[in-house]
Structure formats: structure tokens, C-alpha cells
């Protein structure tokens, strides 16, 4: 049980303030691992489409805890700790693969695709010598198994029996919007990993911060992909931790708001305005960025 210093009290203003120690303290970090990642929250494991065949597995994490997600011989998605019952070594080393069973490289203890310990090398010794005592129970230290739920092809895992079912956890408002995107079977196109030199919660906040998008990312406003003047909104669901933000075509107010900060005005001024397109310029179906002057303003024009 992690202990947090008594001085760490949330500011009296409540949710309108976030104390900076929340991103810095090791004690907070340790409690998050216990109460969130290994506690009553769902961990997102990835897309079910990453494990299309029986025997497919991937290695990932529940917080800091390494885990294996598999599709077992019955076709069911399983998730268990990536830790051998014996000495705690990683069981699966590769990012992904296909296997009938999983063997620890250290002493060749083996596991099935549900994470059950199935054999211990030389358990009875050799010719009556060595081996484990008859009453040994090596399975008592077996990797922990997660409760797994699939929602719209998204795989989630939790160690807690108390975590509400995933759809209720997300909440109906946001679940409906996930359904809209995950409307049919998906295929994997590729991926990236990206290291952030910051606390994980700063990235969660960044994702949920609809205010920054067109201010930090001038790419968005320059290419008319996302401006705060566009219609849109944010839906907050579940206990508050679920959200969906959206933008729609068209503006709700004049594009050059006098209250916009200078950087936003600058971004707005450089974007391509359809009404300024002369007969020399036409709408492009492919919306490829135009590079040639005089139209250096954005994405919607190309030379006819």
C-alpha cells in the first residue's frame, strides 16, 4: 500500500485546479499503479484485429505490469501477467507472434495460452535425485489472470472484479460514438511508438483538451482541418473520464473573431478562403496541399 505525504492535499478549488505534484511525486505514481492500472480501471490492450488467429499473442502492459494478450485454442481473448511463476522472468519476449504454448527461456517452465502453468522442467529430478518436494505448489506464484472484455473490437483488461462492465464504464454517450467508428470489422495498417518526456496524465489531459487543438497545432487551422470557430463540441461520459470530441463542417461565427489571440488570427489569415478563389483556381477533390504561389494559403485549391 503506497503512502502519500499528508501535505499532498488537493486544492480547495476542486477540479478547476490541478496541483503539479500530481505529475511529479513517486508516491503518487506508485499509488496509480495499484489503484488504477492494477486496480478498478480497465486497461486498453489494443485491437482484437491484432490477434486474428488462434495462438496469436502480443505483449503489452497494464501500467508498468508486462502482460500477454492471446487468442487461445477456443478463439477467446485472454490476458495474463508476462511473468514466470518460477523466478519472475518475462515469458514472452517478442512484440507479437503465434504459439501453441509459451515456454520461459530461463528454466523452460511452460504455460498454455490462458496463462496456466502446464509443466515444470525436471520437476521430479533425475533418477530419484533432485527435483521438487512432493507437496510443492509452484502454481501458487503463477502469473495473474485478467478479466477481459471486448467492446467493438477493442480489447480491455482489469485485475479487479469490481470494475463495472466496459460499456457501463465508458458510459452510453461515448460508447455510441465508439460504435459509430467501429461500425464494421477493421484491419491493421501499421503503427508507431512515441516516447513522451512527461507524466502519463499530461498526455491524457492533452487528448481531452479541445481548447489547444487549433492553437498549438497551426497545421490544423492552416489547412482548415480544425478551427475552434467550426461547429463541434465535446461529449463527456462515464464518471467523467470518457469523452468524444467532434467538429463539423461550417462555421458558427465569423472566421476572424476579434477575441482570438494573435497567433490564432495569424493562422486564420493564412488559411485558404474559398471565396477568394478566382477562375484560375478550382476546388480539388483530393485536397492535396497546394505549393505554388499565388495560392499559398491552404488545401482546397489546385491549379485548374
Amino acid at each position: 500500500m503506497s503512502t502519500i505525504p499528508a501535505s499532498r492535499v488537493w486544492p480547495p478549488e476542486g477540479l478547476a485546479r490541478v496541483p503539479y505534484w500530481i505529475y511529479q511525486d513517486e508516491e503518487i505514481y506508485a499509488r496509480e499503479q495499484e489503484r488504477i492500472y492494477r486496480g478498478d480501471a480497465w486497461n486498453f490492450l489494443g485491437l482484437e484485429a491484432e490477434l486474428p488467429e488462434k495462438g496469436d499473442y502480443k505483449t503489452t502492459f497494464a501500467g508498468e505490469m508486462p502482460v500477454v494478450a492471446t487468442r487461445d485454442e477456443t478463439g477467446t481473448i485472454r490476458c495474463f501477467e508476462n511473468r514466470c511463476a518460477h523466478r519472475g522472468a518475462l515469458l514472452c519476449l517478442a512484440d507479437r507472434g503465434n504459439a501453441k504454448e509459451i515456454a520461459c527461456v530461463y528454466h523452460n517452465w511452460t504455460y498454455d495460452l490462458q496463462g496456466n502453468l502446464t509443466s515444470v522442467a525436471f520437476r521430479r529430478g533425475i533418477q530419484g535425485k533432485g527435483g521438487m518436494p512432493g507437496d510443492a505448489d509452484p502454481g501458487s506464484q503463477a502469473p495473474r489472470k485478467f478479466r477481459v472484455e471486448i467492446f467493438c473490437g477493442l480489447m480491455f483488461a482489469t485485475l479487479s472484479d469490481k470494475t463495472p462492465p466496459i460499456e457501463r464504464y465508458i458510459g452510453p454517450e461515448v460508447a455510441a460514438r465508439i460504435r459509430r467508428v467501429m461500425k464494421e470489422p477493421v484491419k491493421i495498417l501499421g503503427g508507431y511508438t512515441q516516447v513522451l518526456q512527461s507524466n502519463w496524465k499530461l498526455y491524457f489531459e492533452n487528448v481531452k483538451d479541445t481548447y489547444h487543438a487549433s492553437l498549438l497545432h497551426l497545421f490544423f487551422s492552416t489547412f482548415r482541418l480544425n478551427r475552434l470557430e467550426q461547429k463541434g463540441g465535446v461529449v463527456v461520459g462515464g464518471e467523467g473520464g470518457s469523452h468524444a470530441s467532434f467538429t463539423m463542417m461550417g462555421s458558427t461565427r465569423p472566421a476572424t473573431s476579434t477575441s482570438a489571440p494573435a497567433c490564432a488570427r495569424r493562422a486564420a489569415a493564412t488559411r485558404c478562403r474559398r471565396r477568394r478563389c478566382s477562375s484560375r483556381w478550382t476546388r480539388s477533390a483530393t485536397a492535396s496541399p497546394c505549393r505554388s504561389s499565388p495560392c499559398s494559403r491552404g488545401s482546397c485549391c489546385s491549379r485548374s
Partner: protein, 107 residues
Amino acid sequence: MNSLAVRQVLPKGAGRTELVWTCFGYESDDAKMDELRMRQSNLVGPAGYISLEDGAATGFVQRGAAGASERSSFVEMGGRSVESSESRVTETSVRGLWQQYRRHMGL
């Protein structure tokens, strides 16, 4: 935009995080649509037009607040409560995160 992606946020210590992006399309997409989705996935990832800047910004907060443990960020855009909003000039969803986080953490 025609780019679809999911991401995992993996903590790697109090001051370090790894993002795992997985880009996807629909099984019914043809090769041309696959190509389009992949081309537009340049918004995300470590060198993506958007994600690069997000990673920089969160790093700026971690560095900027290094000597200010006892101070707080100011999160009142769009009010002080947690609710859905028809405006995106709001931090309502950020406050929502902290509402659920504090319940989990007992803070």
C-alpha cells in the same frame, strides 16, 4: 480526415510515457483507401504533424512546473464543472478526467 487510429498510453516512470499508436482501416476498404489512410496517418506518431507538437507541449509542462510542486494549473475554460459542451473552447473533459482519477486514487 480519413485516418483512424487507437493509442495506448503506457507510463514509464513519473516523468516518462510511451505512446503506442495503431493505425487501422475497415476490412472493406480497397487498396486506394488503404493508401489514403496511411498517407494521412502522418498526423500522428513521433514525427506526426500533430503528435510531435503534443509530445513537446506535455514535455514543456513537465519542465515548466519542475520547481512548482505546490502550485497548480488553472483549468477554468468553459466553467468549473464537468458536462458535455457544444463549444470546444472548454476544458470540461480535462476536469472530467480528474473527477474520475480522484475517485480511483482516493485524493
